[in-house]
Amino acid sequence: MNSRPPAHFNLLARVLHWSMAVLILTMLFVGVTMVASLTLRPMLIELHRPIGIAILLLALLRLGNRLTHRPPPLPADLPAIQKSAARASHWVLYALMLSMPLIGWGMLSAGGYPIVMFGSVSLPAILPHSPTLFALLRGAHGLLAYLLFATVLLHLSAALYHAWVRRDGVFASMARGPGRDANR
């Protein structure tokens, strides 16, 4: 057993992190554009549903990997408040990655909509047809999307702060693997 904490996230974590970064940012922009746009909505909503379910599946895989693989520790000299903020924002990100697709799925179910993935493939409804549930979930889906975008921006700013200001290896722990980490 290796007791020394790893300096880098494992390969699966890094692949999932960067591919989900692309998917989640795409989703957020597809989402707000589609709700506003009068002409792009049909095309964008066809992307939004399958990408959302893909994010749900990847987030489950990622959560499993995160719980079975020890992440690299934050630098010892990082102020406690920044450590807490980092931990809290990560759990907020996990909670939103998992809940946003489920809320979207539930919202379409409660709105009586078919949940079309592609072609003739649809998902079953997970909630009964109900105006109360629909209004609640549709409102939550929008508000939580803003929270997710704000958290993503905060996460990105913090990552760049580690990379460009503190230069403490936190950014590198997600950006690359231990193979080229010649300095350690």
Binding site: T39, Y113, P114, Y161
Partner: protein
């Protein structure tokens, strides 16, 4: 590992604000791009689904829980039976399944849920067909044979012309005149509204999909079509005097009387265009001489009040289509989807928050 690495030449690091400024700019840029995509900033008054529904809402009083347009209606239910000609044109299960259950809604144009039925020029039929392969086909059809505006911008201009002037409480006729002067399609629509004979029932009225869709058959062949529901009940004219004497809920009462004696039927007919016929402009009707194919029969057996019926909480979005049917590039068709979704969210929210006792037939809480 320390937080401040020495620089290569050994001097202590220079404290620079540049990285912080860059991070700030990146975060700000991301937020600005998001706000622009959402339509919050940028060209003021950019046409979004939200602004379109705001404009429709401005044309009349608030009626919480009701549809923003075609507010008054009744739920109906029955079945659809496709024909072999329909199967040849489209692989949609609706044409091959025997007797598909249908949920529908018959309505009148306008945003007043208490308007007089017989006084409404435009009547509408919306359908939700749910086939045994788990797919849905939703339609929204109207009694007019073509749309009154050629583009989204024109449609918005027309809607804006219908907003009451605060001084008079009525739309400014000059604005509608200016709209009509600009668009020959709108004048053609007005000519239809003034000359077409009024029927005396929802049941003997024809309803037209107006937009072009593509039927795709099992060989993958695409056929542009426009569909209509042609009533099997014979047309009976309702003149002006009869319309003025009719009760406010005339159409709903008349429908109930008819249903008591048997189902109401329409033939679903698709018109096939010739080369050169407009595919993406619903204000351009296709000539009457175009080939027509009967692809199915619609039957309604029962009606329920909208407030408690199964159609109340359904968004009849005409872009919910099964495989075998695809939308055309008609921008007005695309826009309907977004506008309907926004309107649906608003009225469901009103119903959910208990502010829509009128729309749901519930006693308002004291």
């Amino acid at each position: 590992m320390t937080s401040q690495m020495p620089t290569p030449d050994g001097r202590p690091p220079r404290r620079s604000l540049l990285p912080l400024a860059a991070i700030g700019l990146i975060a700000l840029g991301g937020a600005a791009a998001f706000a622009w995509a959402a339509g919050w900033i940028g060209s003021s008054g950019r046409l979004t689904s939200q602004r379109f529904v705001d404009t429709i809402e401005a044309t009349g009083a608030d009626h919480p829980g009701f549809r923003r347009a075609h507010s008054k209606g009744v739920c109906v239910s029955g079945s659809f039976q496709g024909t072999a000609e329909g199967v040849a044109l489209s692989s949609a299960r609706a044409f091959s399944q025997a007797a598909v259950p249908v949920l529908g809604r018959m309505s009148i144009g306008g945003g007043d849920p208490h308007g007089a039925d017989a006084a409404a020029r435009v009547r509408s039929m919306a359908l939700l067909i749910r086939t045994d392969d788990g797919q849905q086909w939703r339609m929204a059809m109207n009694s007019f044979p073509f749309f009154g505006a050629p583009t989204l911008e024109a449609f918005l201009e027309q809607t804006r012309a219908g907003i009451p002037d605060p001084a008079t409480g009525k739309p400014d006729p000059a604005k509608m005149a200016a709209f009509l002067a600009r668009y020959p399609q709108a004048r053609r629509f007005q000519a239809w509204a003034e000359s077409a004979r009024w029927s005396d029932s929802w049941a003997n009225t024809a309803y037209n999909g107006v937009h072009t869709f593509h039927f795709i058959n099992t060989n993958g062949e695409r056929q542009p079509v426009r569909w209509s529901m042609r009533p099997q009940a014979p047309f009976v004219e309702m003149d002006k005097a009869k319309r003025e004497q009719a009760s406010a809920d005339y159409l709903a009462e008349e429908l109930d009387r008819r249903l008591a004696t048997g189902p109401l039927r329409w033939d679903m007919v698709v018109t096939l265009p010739d080369a050169g016929d407009a595919l993406d402009d619903p204000s351009q009707p296709w000539p009457e001489t175009r080939r027509q194919v009967t692809v199915g029969t619609l039957s309604f057996e029962q009606a329920q009040p909208q407030a408690t019926g199964p159609c109340r909480d359904v968004n009849f979005d005409p872009l919910i289509l099964p495989t075998g049917i695809a939308a055309s590039d008609d921008p007005i068709l695309a826009a309907r989807s977004g506008v309907y979704a926004q309107s649906f969210f608003r009225r469901e929210r009103e119903i959910a928050s208990g502010k829509a006792s009128d729309a749901t037939d519930q006693e308002a809480s004291p």
